[in-house]
Symmetry: C5
């Protein structure tokens, strides 16, 4: 009964944990726009500076923005990537806002980490938002905002958390593989980071695709409520990923078409590649949503089949035995053979009971009735399928 397909065990997941920490706007309606109040749960900021030119890379880990700025000023002619992890330090953000002359509305969007992917151009910088998704083993999706400020020589990135998926870029930067990364300036670094984030979507989609495939195999074997919960869980994740992917594509398209000199022309070719990836992602998500929906339909059909089977079992057993029980009931009646008062023989009262072989005849009758019914149900195909 256990087919080979079931050798892939259904990993145990607490479905109630498949939950996307829904991002909520945290400032109150009517607040002064451009104010950013630091969320009390935000982590204190850690600052990592990477200053590099073609043949050289300097790194700094700081807790104080002033140190970081000094570090970059000491490396004139270098390209700088300032990676700010944790958005809990008001002083760091204030420093950046003043030092780089950033519009307060932008700072607000960096801190209120519920923005859709977008791209805004200002006089001397660009503001870009990506959504960094990660999936842990329990199908729990972490949906973090990754914001960028792109200046002439400097890229500043902002993350909510200390963990990220960006290590491959750091490695490439350190190993200086394939030249481009240290040569094409901060817009290439922006591309490299965004592309890494998008590439990670494929990992998540593959993971969910595997989940759906396992669930499907189990569904065909045996439809269970648990499986339906899991499909619902995947669908829920799909809704979130979809909300992120469409604006991601639009953002990349805008960047591609932008004539802003902050975007190196040579980087456009790479952006086109990233744009292609974003379309593939949308495509895969839509296909998987369709697949998830038809799995749910399949589940419902199978449930309905199962119900049918249950009903047929009940009906067959009842239909066979209820009439037989009735016959037995007949011959269990106590109609008297003799009038007890007069002693007169009441010869029409159940003479079968006093026949030779009456019992045998009744048993044979019952058997025939049962056989007839079984034959009827068989002809109707109730025993097949």
């Amino acid at each position: 009964m256990k087919l080979s397909v079931l050798k892939i065990p259904l990993p145990k997941i607490d479905i109630s944990k498949i939950n996307i920490t829904q991002h909520r706007r945290r400032n109150n309606p009517g607040e002064v726009p451009g104010t950013f109040f630091i969320n009390e749960t935000a982590l204190p900021s850690k600052i990592f500076v990477y200053s590099y030119k073609e043949d050289h890379l300097e790194e700094l880990a700081a807790n104080d923005m002033a140190d970081a700025i000094n570090f970059t000023k000491n490396h004139r002619g270098y390209t700088h990537w300032i990676d700010v992890k944790g958005l809990g330090s008001q002083s760091v953000l204030d420093f950046i806002q003043k030092e780089f002359d950033v519009n307060p509305l932008v700072m607000e969007d960096i801190v209120h980490t519920h923005q859709r992917p977008k791209n805004e151009e200002y006089d001397h910088f660009m503001f870009v938002v990506s959504r960094m998704l990660e999936l842990d083993k329990g199908l729990q999706l972490k949906n973090e905002q990754l914001s960028f400020l792109l200046f002439k020589d400097t890229l500043i990135s902002f993350q909510e958390d200390y963990d990220d998926v960006l290590d491959p870029v750091r490695n490439r930067l350190r190993k200086n593989v394939n030249g481009n990364i240290r040569v094409l300036g901060p817009s290439y670094m922006l591309y490299a980071l965004m592309d890494t984030v998008i590439d990670h979507y494929f990992t998540i989609i593959n993971r969910l695709g595997d989940e759906l495939e396992i669930v499907e195999d189990h569904l065909y074997q045996k439809p269970r409520k648990q499986l339906m919960y899991r499909i619902q869980g995947v669908k829920k994740l799909m809704i979130t990923m979809r909300r992120g992917s469409w604006p991601e594509r639009d953002k990349l398209n805008e960047l591609l078409k932008s004539t802003n000199p902050l975007i190196n022309e040579e980087v456009k070719l790479f952006l086109r590649d990233a744009y292609d990836h974003s379309i593939q992602i949308i495509d895969l998500i839509e296909s998987m949503r369709e697949t998830a929906t038809s799995l749910l339909d399949l589940y419902l059909s199978l449930m309905s089949n199962k119900m049918n089977e249950v009903m047929k079992t009940l009906t067959i057993i009842s239909a066979i035995f209820i009439p037989l029980t009735f016959i037995a009931g007949i011959y269990g009646m106590n109609f008297a053979y003799q009038d007890p008062k007069t002693g007169e023989i009441l010869k029409d009262n159940m003479p079968e009971l006093y026949m030779h072989n009456g019992y045998m005849y009744v048993m044979i009758l019952m058997l025939l009735i049962a056989i007839a019914q079984i034959w009827y149900f068989a002809r109707k195909g109730w025993f097949r399928d």
Copy 2:
């Protein structure tokens, strides 16, 4: 059995009260366009005037429009926000129409409070409509029209009711936080009011999102009709909110692209922010609609599961006991051992009844039948899941 999730109690809501007072056109078909007949249930108008410049704010509460106009005329060089609450005073509206030379069709739209959010430009003023939504504890949605007339120095706002969600703006105006509000003229005030209204949508959406999450947790615990009613209630609210949000976005987009000098260029940046918010709202509403729909599907699946379980219980019990009862019925038949007339022994009539241990054998037979059936159902997996 009660999981921790159920510690969040399901708040009691009378679902039949989840009802949006559907706005109806109140004038009769074929009426002269541009006439505005005051609805008899409309509240008498109260007028609040805010005249301000960078370093000064004067307020006036009046019942008479003439007083208000005089007040603004006494404050030349100030920016004026005239807040009209209640649309029941014909004289107030007539006065405004004549004093500011407003097209009667516009006055009609202000009074017939069923307009979609929109933006109309006229020679010397703009007419803007927002929908102000509020949700009370019983999930009752109040859907009020907030109309604006934007002139060079003056913004007039019209509300249906005395309550509103605009106090944060009044506070900012009084406290003069962050400068802009008293400096950027009536178009900034228009922005500030509209943005506050939109921001309130987020509060409502979060509220409904919480509702859906609680309902989902309870659904997984125990699907109940009451939960389905509540999802239907949220869906109903979503339909209304959606009807308001799409034109809201279009309106803000038009304002953004408008070249009308009544809109201060510096305010455009803020309008872009508000436009972003309107897109986020649409986005959230669509996601929640999808979520609500899949919760309904979940409810139906769970109901179908429950039915299946009920049917299985019935079938197992019937299938086991009906045949046993039949056997008991057999041995309850009264076939005679002896022909009462002749006294002949009818040895084929139910000899089992006269066997040593006949009773025992029958009981064992019944037990075996029951065990066989239980084994069969167990193998079919009817006792699991």
Copy 3:
């Protein structure tokens, strides 16, 4: 049990009468285009002429088109509205075609009253089609074509029936309320008539909205097949109204953007208002379609709940009594105490029957079984909700 909401009685409607006389093309395929054959069921034409200028109005009721034309010729400098009711008089239509030099294809469209709302511009006139809807008490929708020919001084309107919804316009024309109607020429009259027709859509929508609300209240009280029929009826009407509303909007938009001098520039402002109304109508129809669909879903969920409840009742009663009946059946068996042939005591045959209090013990056993089952079902929550 009867809540206050049920005080609104469900009005009796014969659902089979909710039927839209589907308009059919009456000419045969391949016929010469531009021929108009009068439908034999068409009513004979009645002609009403309204000739007016700012301070004067003359009316004429005629059966003969020649009279009508003479009447208008006698009133040079007046604006004329010729209202043709009933399309059954070939002579009237021929006269109009020749007198006003109308393309035969247009005359064909006037007579074949199945046109979608549309707007066609010709050299010296415009041809406009509206759909005039009316709802009678039995939710029967009358879907009449109202065609217009707009000339420089003259507006000719064509109706299928003698009744219409246009009396408010006639009253305004006679009373000369608010000036515009007699001053702005035939294009204003066109607007006034079209707007009155559209305004009547709101009346119908409100009526259907009330219907849905009453049905919803009754649904929550008690789902019945009759209610489902009514929702289906409203949906059916919605399909028809929607078919009319979308092209109505397109038509008004075209008129708004038209640069044809036949449309008075001052009328454009009013057309924008009518255009707004048409959008509101589409909006309301779409919302109501969604509402009707979720009411049907609600009905199905409630039916499924009801079925569940029926099944639970059956299962509880069967599950309790079938085993008990089996036990009673056991002790109704006739296993002999004594071998009738040998008189030997068969002491293992149902000794319970001969025990002191055997009956009592069995009754107590049965009671315990019943209590155990009731406890089990209660724990599963079958008695709640």
Copy 4:
């Protein structure tokens, strides 16, 4: 029980015959484009030539294309319509290709009769495809390709079959009704033929509309599987018709906007009329699809109602009689009055059996139980609706 509506009998249709001969591409993948291999089932070509000018018409029926060409050459200054019925004669098609210098890709499209309606312009001719639909009595749809080659003086039409729906055009041509047909050249003939084909769509739609109405009436009377099959059949036809109608509209729109001199300017007005018809057809098809879908929903609701009713019947009967049978079972138990060994009176064993009126009391008890249950079910409304 039989309402008047059922007087319209449900015409007997073999649903399995509602089948559209799906057009298949017959050439093999990778074949040389522009080759046309004659399908072996194609009919041999018959050629009909109509050469006409305003006051004269000559007809010829030929089997040989050379004859036809000669005939047209003998009638210089005439307009020619060459109607080729049956696509099975390679020589005829080759002759046309060479004589009129037609691109082989076009000839391929004429022979492979699975093209969508389309319009292709070449240097000296236009290639137009229509789909000619016919519905026989058994709701069998014949979906034939009608291709046109439009030259300066000549229109060639190609049909798959000898039957067509074009006789009305032939009659108008012969009777020369209303002048245009013989005067406006081959592009008017093209219009006339296409319009006749489109007009025939209305006939089919009306036929299917009637079918749906009859089915609906029967559904309300008594939902049956047969009715569901018929709705599915209509839906199937709708899918085919829709596939033809959308490109038909696009084709007509292209023709309307074409500046090709082959299309007579005076014919454009007629094409606009045909374009209008194509929009009406799309509109009707979409409405009917919606109607068919809601009829299927209605069917499912009614089935679910019926199931409910069946279940209620079962539950009521079981719920009433199972407990009563149990009681009867109790008093059918054989607990002994006397210990057969000792003769001791077991006075607690079923003393009811020996009471005066014990039987009466039990019968009254049973009656009360039945009445209580009936009252309970009645209160729950199980006997209503």
Copy 5:
């Protein structure tokens, strides 16, 4: 019972094998873009060179790219098609990249065979991707990437596998049928290969269409779970084909509109034909998706009908026999005729048992009850349909 339609046997397919090897991105997120790591499962490359001019064709099969390039260099003035089968040889790909100066991002896309159909133009070449689909007997879809590099004189194609569907093109090239293929240069060869691939889609669609038709016939005969699985399988394939077809159409449209001199103008006409085919494919796929969906609906309706039938069987049998069994139970009660203690006659205890013909009367009563019920069910139509 077996209709002729069932003579077409349902081919046995293991549904769990209807599985599209989902293409996965194989490189890790954050990898250097433009690197192509050869998948370890990729086949070693085989190279086939076709050098041809109008009257001559030379072929070469090589394993080494250098040989292939030499071969083409020895045939100056010829057109070259280099067919690379298997993407497992790094050296071959590196050689091509350097020899033809191809952007590394393009090489990456060739090796990562999960690209959507697309068309990218570079300075001196075009990069085109098609998806080559093949369906084996078990409805297993092989979804291979076919990439093209189009240069001035040379077309290079890349396939994942040694098998393909391109033999018809090779045959035409060898036989030089119809001239064009050797004359119109590499862009015609590109067209010919792409068109062959697309033409193969029709074969697959026809195959799936047949499958759906067979399944439908079987469904009407007898709905079975297996049939539902097969419809699901076809739907799954449809999702994949659709994902390939839409971008295929866009790609062909771009090529059509491209002004790149690499595309021969004379080839455009053929590309238009291929574009037409791609639209027909999309059209067929959408129709088949609709058909598959309505077959699933049909399956569910039929299942619901079947359940109804099962329930009716159960209800009829139970409803008839349960009351009869109750009556038999009544007369099986042991109410005593005589008080055993006093010998008093208890004349009200079941006097029926001692009546003349009591048994007969009861049997007749039972018969009447059964007849009444059967009549009732017949009137309700439970025995029909």
